[in-house]
């Protein structure tokens, strides 16, 4: 990698909260531009260049157009990093993966849903499901979360620039809860996805803030083995229950698909 690598940000279907978290680094964003050369960042810049080494990709892939753009980014970049739940595991976008797509369109567009069948209505195309980047292209690294955590993002870039390996930790959010000295959500009589959600970057913030873990960082590598068993035993829950219930973020991950051919487009 060059001394001051060129980096670019790209967004697909998402809320752009991960780019916002990067802007929210405030002063530290100025430090960041000392060590990397940002050549494309649509949320904050007019300039754009296709010459970059590291590409950050935010948001899910939901249309043929998205897919073509993603493939182009992949071929331009040496290193592709997915940021945020939408890009790493399809995030909330994948909630509709478990719904009947005809109903999905109808609920949002009413009678106009038929535009998806109209070949002249070019923008009205969508895959039946939402996908993360890894469903279609190789992804070197991931920064999980909805949104990502600014500190974790900085740590990952620093490690990358120093030639280290910014792979993700693989312990459950429960470990972070212990460090934060939170009262366990199960002890409060609720269900929490912490025992099989990948921790190590969010400080269990949702539990710390009084809510429960919703699973936004995705599952640990192997939910059957890497589970935080203490909690499951104490409160008599199974991994299967956790995988199948209360899943706002796991619709794709529960049943990951890696289409060899582009999915059929509804247009």
């Amino acid at each position: 990698m060059s001394a001051k690598p060129k980096v670019a940000f790209f967004d697909f279907a998402g809320c752009e909260g991960d780019q916002l978290e990067i802007i929210n680094l405030e002063d530290r964003l100025l430090d960041l531009v000392e060590v990397v050369d940002i050549v494309s960042f649509r949320e904050a810049m007019s300039e754009h260049s296709d010459d970059y080494e590291i590409a950050f990709v935010e948001g899910s892939i939901t249309t043929q157009h998205d897919l073509e753009r993603l493939e182009k980014v992949r071929s331009n970049a040496d290193i592709l990093i997915a940021i945020g739940a939408c890009a790493t595991i399809a995030g909330v976008n994948a909630i509709r993966n478990d719904q009947d797509f005809e109903k999905v369109k109808e609920r949002v567009y009413g009678e106009d849903a038929e535009l998806f069948d109209d070949p002249d209505a070019e923008l009205f195309e969508a895959f039946e499901k939402a996908y993360p980047a890894q469903a279609f292209v190789d992804v070197e690294y991931q920064v999980p979360g909805c949104p990502i955590d600014g500190d974790e993002f900085i740590q990952m870039i620093t490690l990358l620039l120093e030639g280290g390996d910014p792979s993700l930790p693989n312990h459950a959010v429960c470990v972070d809860c212990k460090i934060e000295e939170n009262t366990c959500t199960f002890e409060r009589g609720e269900t929490c996805l912490g025992p099989i959600t990948r921790g190590g970057g969010c400080d269990a913030t949702c539990v710390t803030q009084g809510a429960r873990c919703w699973g936004c960082r995705g599952m640990v590598d192997n939910p059957d083995d890497d589970v935080y068993e203490e909690v499951l035993q104490e409160y008599d829950v199974t991994t299967e229950q956790l995988v199948n219930e209360f899943t706002l973020y796991w619709s794709w991950e529960r049943n990951p698909e890696y289409p060899a051919e582009p999915p059929e487009v509804q247009q």
Partner: protein
């Protein structure tokens, strides 16, 4: 002088989401002028269906990160309306502080990171860190102030986790309130610096006027952001229960997004609409800022939306100080760290409206007796402004048709950015007709 112009398919950068401007003129005659919106549909109104009432706000906050707290709050108001859930006075004040924090961070982001480079003739804020170091640091400090408020009241700068139906899981303690109070008090120098900076560049704001209708919330006792009823500058107070008759979402042949209209062919929402409709309730310092720019109601210059955001930033700082004073004076009612209000789930339909940084936002949900959502509808401010942007362009382009193409493009992009559109918000998209470029006279 006449020329052929064709600007097509240029992504307007520095706005949230994806917008395109299309202008097509032959021999100085305008043939096409379109404000297009291009983004993959995300189907939020379907995502909430079949899921529980206590997840709705969590899902829809992901419509947009910059206004995630307002989406959360509007969803909560709708859920609370539908399920008859009460919210305490204290919690309402704390929610107003959440909205103030979000609006400050959003306005400063727009003014400092997105609009200022236009005025200063720069491509982005990043090179400005060298040429305008002090100014950029000031903008960053103010932006951080908004985010610190969000962290204090909502737990996180975006997609906060503390606001839930019926109140908060957790609230700040008095010492945290006092910290924010001090930060707000210390921010006046920064606000004044930004006011001076924008004043010095204000002549760069294109001088353009087009009469339109302004829709926002209004409230008898306060500058309305959280509480209030819808209000039109043309027709007065409006009925929230019939919000569908306020927005009249409709299909326009040459556009991708559903447009809205009320009393005229288009209306405007956002900071300028609020300042126009509720000017008298602005705080003293906010009025001073407005006066220094000559902004007085009713102002029909869309570019003044930037100034209105600055006026509101001053107002929100003063208003937040008042709210914190009131909370401290009354003494904070304690609540446990994992608080969860008792809610009796019933079937019902609820509608909520809140002022997002970009304008009035409507959410509408219907729940069955188990609290499972059967239907959802969100009408987002950016969509309500699309028609107004389109009509502004139609009036503006003929007046600049002799200017160089890149100048026209730049001015139109500035116009779009003045509305601060958050296009990732726009949940409804409709047909688009791609117009062939005709450039025959070349």
């Amino acid at each position: 002088m006449s020329q052929d112009i064709s600007i097509e398919g240029d992504l307007v950068t520095r706005v949230e989401g994806h917008g395109e401007v299309l202008v097509n003129a032959t021999n100085g005659e305008l043939e096409e002028c379109e404000w297009q919106v291009v983004e993959s549909p995300r189907f939020f109104e379907s995502m909430v269906v079949g899921r529980s009432w206590d997840e709705t706000h969590h899902i829809v906050s992901r419509i947009c990160a910059i206004c995630s707290a307002t989406h959360t709050m509007t969803a909560l108001k709708a859920i609370e309306d539908g399920l008859n859930i009460d919210v305490s006075r204290q919690d309402r004040k704390l929610r107003k502080l959440v909205l103030a924090g979000e609006t400050i961070q959003s306005h400063v982001l727009h003014l400092g990171y997105l609009a200022l480079p236009d005025l200063a003739g720069k491509k982005s804020v990043i090179p400005m860190a060298d040429t305008h170091e002090e100014e950029v640091k000031t903008v960053i400090r103010l932006h951080e102030l908004g985010n610190d408020m969000l962290r204090t009241f909502e737990g996180r700068a975006s997609h906060g986790q503390r606001t839930i139906p019926g109140g908060f899981t957790q609230i700040p303690d008095e010492s945290e309130l006092k910290e924010i109070e001090t930060a707000l008090e210390n921010s006046w120098d920064d606000v004044e610096a930004v006011v001076d900076l924008i004043l010095s560049l204000a002549e760069q704001l294109p001088d353009f006027t087009r009469e339109t209708e302004f829709i926002s919330l209004t409230h008898p006792d306060e500058y309305a952001l959280y509480d209030g009823v819808p209000y039109s500058s043309d027709t007065g107070e409006l009925d929230l229960d019939n919000y569908e008759d306020i927005v009249n979402e409709h299909v326009v042949e040459q556009s991708t997004a559903k447009f809205t209209k009320h009393n005229r062919k288009s209306y405007m929402v956002g900071a300028l609409a609020r300042v126009n409709n509720n000017y008298d309730q602005l705080s003293p310092k906010a009025k001073e800022v407005a006066e220094s720019f000559g902004l007085e109601p009713v102002c029909h210059q869309p570019f003044m939306n930037n100034v209105a955001q600055l006026v509101e930033t001053a107002h929100l700082i003063e208003n937040s100080l008042d709210l914190i004073d009131e909370l401290l004076e009354a003494g904070l009612e304690e609540q446990s760290d994992y608080h969860k209000p008792d809610v009796d789930v019933t079937a019902g339909r609820g509608i909520g409206a809140t002022e997002a940084p970009r304008g009035i936002l409507f959410h509408d949900y219907t729940f069955d007796e188990d609290g499972i959502a059967e239907r959802g509808n969100c009408v987002i401010p950016t969509n309500q402004n699309h028609a107004n942007i389109q009509h502004d362009m139609e009036k503006m382009v003929p007046t600049m048709i002799d200017q160089p193409q890149d100048q026209i493009q730049h001015t139109l992009e500035m116009l779009v950015r003045a509305y601060d559109p958050c296009i990732s918000c726009s949940t409804h998209y409709l047909d688009i007709e791609f117009v062939e470029n005709e450039n025959e006279g070349e």
